[in-house]
């Protein structure tokens, strides 16, 4: 599903070129639940952003679902994200003026579905994460855990090939974090490919495979 070869990403820090990813190569199969872990600053989020087409690597090759994505234009990347990828951000990243169902429906509407169809799909996705009763609440009226579950519903609603999750439990208490993780496990059981950045050892254990990053490289 995802093939990465010699991925390099560096940032300019003053006059210094700070290399965060130093030639990463990896292979993630369809239906796998992979966790990326490592110490703070090890480059795990940076790797996720490159895989999720939110950022441009300096060099290297990324192939997702058979498409060489490295050379896509910004508009093509946006379209690709809409069609194939789903995101769960650390801070939920919900649009504050949209209710739970509207937040979830918006990518589906962008795919060309009518509002009615999009809302029906969004309703199903929210029910899957246990929020069938909170459809019309604004994010400000939802708890952290509920907001993160809306974020998951939004990520899965348009039926993506891969879900990327960037420390989805970082801002949650342990009980809520467990609920969120259970939602991921449930999705994985249904065959969803998931790539999750986390530094919680107990959650790492629940995934199929762990990619441990250290100093810009994957530890073998």
């Amino acid at each position: 599903m995802i093939k990465v070869k010699n991925l390099v990403k560096s940032f300019q820090s003053g006059e210094e070129d700070l290399k965060v990813l130093k030639g990463i190569s990896l292979d993630i199969k369809a239906g796998e639940f992979v966790s990326i872990t490592g110490r703070s600053g090890s480059g795990k989020s940076t790797l996720l952003y490159q895989l999720g087409l939110l950022d441009h690597p300096n060099s290297g090759e990324i192939v997702i679902d058979g498409t060489h994505v490295s050379n896509l234009t910004n508009d093509e990347r946006t379209k690709f994200r809409l069609e194939k990828l789903g995101y769960v951000f650390q801070d939920y990243a919900l649009v504050p003026e949209l209710t739970a169902i509207e937040n979830t429906a918006i990518p589906i509407m962008m795919q060309g579905k009518s509002k009615k169809e999009a809302f029906a799909v969004a309703k199903r996705a929210l029910s899957r994460v246990g929020l069938g009763q909170r459809l019309y609440n604004l994010p400000s009226k939802l708890s952290g855990g509920e907001q993160q579950r809306v974020s998951i519903a939004r990520a899965i609603a348009h039926d993506p090939k891969i879900i990327f999750a960037d420390e989805p439990t970082a801002n949650l208490d342990s009980e809520t974090a467990d609920t969120v993780l259970k939602a991921f496990i449930e999705l994985h059981k249904q065959g969803q490919t998931i790539v999750m950045v986390t530094h919680e050892p107990e959650y790492v254990l629940l995934t199929d495979r762990v990619l441990k990053l250290s100093d810009g490289l994957i530890e073998v």
Partner: protein, 425 residues
């Protein structure tokens, strides 16, 4: 063909998603903020329409007064190098038989001098209290029916057909109404209603009693002296009944140009100059009107620029503070175009609301109010000129300026790197 269809479909989706986002953003953002932005738009729209409207209306009030109190819809005067309108009785007869005529008035006009307080002069070489001006002979009933002259008296009473020794004096010939000093301008001093004054016309001198003073903000009344037509005719020896001016008011919705043509066909053009009221306007008035219109447009353009900048700042701040969410929307696959559309729709909403309320304020309140209570300028009663067509053009301009001012900041923010936006870098 297929590609074009796909492109149209993509645009339609972006429009739909943009509208969906905009609607919710407007509906769920602070009512006070929305109210403030709409208030700014209303003021901007009013600035665009009202400033020019007042400037033009100031002159419009003046020209309207010229039309209603002096020229009428069609004005007939003597030909150049002629002292009066030859064959006047025939022309008046044609006018009387025209079905479109509502009222008319004819006037005899002659240069002359009026002198007051001459009885209290002690020495012969003492400066006389006099002023020169146009002496106008009128039929008081016809004139009043035509121009409502009796309503323009600031003191005294109107003239009737028995006032052979009565005189009405324009207020601008009196010091107490026009207290200015100008080279060549002499004004009557200490003249009151009931005083006796001496009129000299064409070498003839007669005494009259002041019946009243007229003030209309029309020079052709305020700078003139009025006596009965029969009296002036006798004084100047005009026994052929040839007059100097004929003002004709037409029934509503009658085209003055059509009546002018009809008069010319009837031969009036051979002995008189026939003009519609706007053709007869003094050139300086037309020039000032054009200048004020231009000034109004300049002020309006500045208002438009200020409105554009205001909307630009509002949308820019809105987009900057929501940069993270713009990044997230892009991150989850929402096209840049849809996000830009959302901001354009918001701008359109603010502009639409501002314009709609502005229209209500202008046509529901300002125009009828100022029509009923004209602004009292020294030389005219100013009204608010706001033709629907011109107002609509300004509304359209404001809408276009707002769309551009909304689009540019949205474009600037949307074009930023998606990840940088999400992470607030």
């Amino acid at each position: 063909m297929k590609i074009a269809k796909l492109k149209i479909e993509k645009y339609a989706i972006s429009l739909r998603v943009g509208f969906f986002l905009a609607l919710r953003q407007v509906r769920r953002s602070s009512k006070y903020t929305n109210g403030l932005i709409i208030f700014v738009m209303v003021l901007t729209f009013l600035n665009l329409v009202v400033v020019r409207g007042i400037l033009v209306g100031l002159l419009e009030g003046s020209t309207e007064a010229y039309r209603s109190k002096y020229a009428g819809d069609v004005l007939i005067t003597n030909l150049p190098k002629k002292n009066f309108i030859e064959n006047s009785p025939n022309i008046i007869s044609v006018i009387q038989n025209m079905p479109w005529v509502e009222s008319y008035s004819y006037r005899y006009v002659e240069g002359g001098e009026v002198e007051a307080n001459y009885k209290s002069k002690i020495r012969m070489d003492e400066d006389s209290n006099s002023t020169a001006g146009s002496i106008v002979g009128i039929n008081p009933e016809l004139e009043d029916a035509f121009s409502g002259m009796s309503l323009k008296l600031v003191e005294g009473r109107y003239m009737n057909k028995n006032d052979a020794e009565g005189i009405l004096i324009g207020a601008n010939l009196l010091r107490k109404y026009l207290d200015i000093e100008a080279p060549g301008l002499t004004l009557l001093e200490d003249v009151e209603v009931g005083d006796r004054v001496r009129l000299t016309v064409g070498g003839n001198r007669r005494e009259f009693t002041v019946l009243g003073f007229l003030q209309s903000k029309v020079d052709q009344i305020d700078f003139r002296i009025f006596v009965l037509d029969t009296t002036l005719r006798n004084m100047i020896g005009r026994s052929d009944y040839n007059v100097d001016e004929i003002s004709v008011r037409l029934k509503s919705d009658t085209d003055p140009y059509m009546v002018k043509e009809a008069l010319l066909r009837a031969g009036a053009g051979e002995t008189a100059r026939v003009q519609t009221w706007d053709e007869s306007l003094p050139k300086f008035l037309i020039d000032i009107q054009n200048t004020f219109g231009l000034l109004g447009n300049v002020v309006g353009s500045i208002g438009l620029a200020v409105a554009s900048i205001t909307i630009f700042i509002v949308i820019f701040i809105n987009a900057i503070t929501r940069r993270k969410f713009i990044g997230i929307l892009k991150g989850i696959g929402i096209e840049s175009r849809a996000i830009e559309m959302a901001y354009i729709f918001q701008s359109v909403f603010y502009a639409f609301m501002g314009i709609a309320i502005g229209f209500l304020v202008i046509y529901g309140f300002l125009v009828p109010f100022i029509d009923a209570h004209p602004i009292k300028f020294p030389f005219s009663d100013g009204i608010l000129v706001a033709e629907v067509y011109n107002t609509s053009i300004r509304a359209l301009l404001l809408m276009i300026a707002t769309i551009i001012a909304g689009y540019i900041p949205a474009r600037i923010v949307v074009k930023k790197n998606t990840l940088d936006s999400i992470l607030g870098r």
